[in-house]
């Protein structure tokens, strides 16, 4: 595999794992509080809709002119990756509340326990809707990452395999640890994904606009390192300093 393919696999795997953790939290909450049958049906229908989307959009994306595709998709990756990195830096420095799966789980269970709905033939519409929405929205982000990264690298199959591996792995871990998803180092994973999305975004927009990167594909890991350094400096420079037991913002 080329360096570009390694980064592609790592980016898609980590992004999919993060989204899968978020989706799993919602599905487990729906299953525990409203019954597993409707929650699993919601997951199944959402996966079906996502599969149709991939089947419809995948071939269209691959047929677009390569440079246009690279600029559009590179731009989307840049925006999306910068948003992830911004959140990750703010969370790492305490300026934004961390994404706590335990809190999300508790809130979801509480809100669904309070909602009353008619259960027909063992089916609960609230459990179905919550599981469908959670799976569909988080899954849609995985689909976008797989299609955009895969299409620009002309390797949608490899990207899809990396996403599938992440979904299966997180699913299995989720089944084993059930409600202990808060233990997943999500912010670290989000930082890594953000770095790769921004690096791919920079590389592909550059290529699409006529930039000849030194070392070709090897520029991607270099970009990851450069942006990693920037993120590290940002975290260290804006992290509030502890002074005599108190906390002073820098």
């Amino acid at each position: 595999m080329t360096s570009s393919q390694w980064v592609l696999v790592a980016a898609v795997f980590l992004a999919s794992a993060v989204e899968m953790v978020e989706a799993l939290t919602i599905v487990v909450a729906a299953g525990v509080s409203r019954g597993w049958r409707s929650a699993l049906e919601g997951v199944g229908v959402a996966l079906l809709v996502l599969a149709v989307l991939v089947a419809a959009l995948g071939p269209v994306l691959v047929k677009l002119p390569l440079n246009t595709l690279r600029v559009v998709i590179g731009g989307i990756l840049l925006v999306y990756g910068l948003q992830w990195l911004r959140k990750a830096v703010l969370r790492a420095t305490g300026y934004k509340a961390p994404h706590d799966e335990d809190v999300i789980y508790a809130k979801t269970v509480e809100s669904m326990s309070q909602s009353s709905s008619e259960v027909r033939a063992g089916r609960d519409p609230v459990g179905f809707a919550v599981a469908f929405k959670g799976t569909f929205l988080e899954g849609l982000e995985v689909v976008i990452v797989v299609l955009t990264l895969g299409a620009t690298d002309h390797d949608v199959g490899l990207a899809a395999l990396a996403a599938l591996a992440a979904v299966v792995l997180v699913g299995l871990v989720g089944v084993v640890v059930a409600r202990q998803l808060a233990g997943v180092p999500e912010n670290t994973m989000k930082t890594a994904v953000g770095l790769m999305l921004v690096s791919f975004g920079s590389f592909w927009t550059g290529e699409g606009l006529g930039v000849h990167w030194p070392g070709s594909d090897l520029a991607i890991p270099v970009l990851v390192a450069v942006y990693g350094l920037v993120v590290g400096v940002l975290v260290l420079s804006i992290r509030p300093r502890r002074v005599f037991g108190g906390v002073h913002a820098s």
């Binding site: 600029v71 731009g75 989307i76 840049l78 925006v79 999306y80 910068l82 948003q83 990195l85 911004r86 830096v89 703010l90 420095t93 300026y95 934004k96 849609l140 982000e141 976008i144 921004v198 975004g201 920079s202 927009t205 550059g206 606009l209 006529g210 930039v211 000849h212 990167w213 030194p214 520029a219 970009l223 450069v226 942006y227 920037v230 993120v231 940002l234 804006i238 913002a249």
Partner: protein, 96 residues
């Protein structure tokens, strides 16, 4: 026949309603995905693309690949600092 016309128009309205709702949800998804609460990132990315086009066209590819990561890093820094300022801003008092 009035009853059929009414049923037909209700069906049409429902179908149109589904399409409008679907389009609105699609638009909102992309707006939230690409702009959300960080419009500065979207605007800066478009500006970066414009600068890179200009550099490739009027200067050189080398200038463009050197400038791109610097501009992206600058955008991230500016957006993070904006986020930090926003998190320090005092919350508005509760109504009443």
């Amino acid at each position: 026949m009035p009853p059929e016309t009414t049923t037909q128009s209700v069906e049409e309205t429902t179908a149109r309603g589904w399409v409008v709702r679907g389009l609105r949800a699609f638009g909102l998804f992309w707006w939230d995905f690409l702009v959300g609460d960080t419009p500065e990132v979207t605007v800066a990315t478009l500006v970066i693309l414009g600068i890179v086009v200009g550099l490739v066209h009027w200067m050189s590819s080398t200038a463009a690949w050197a400038a791109l990561p610097v501009l992206v890093a600058g955008t991230l820094t500016a957006s993070v600092l904006r986020g930090r300022r926003a998190s320090r801003r005092p919350q508005p008092p509760p109504p009443g």
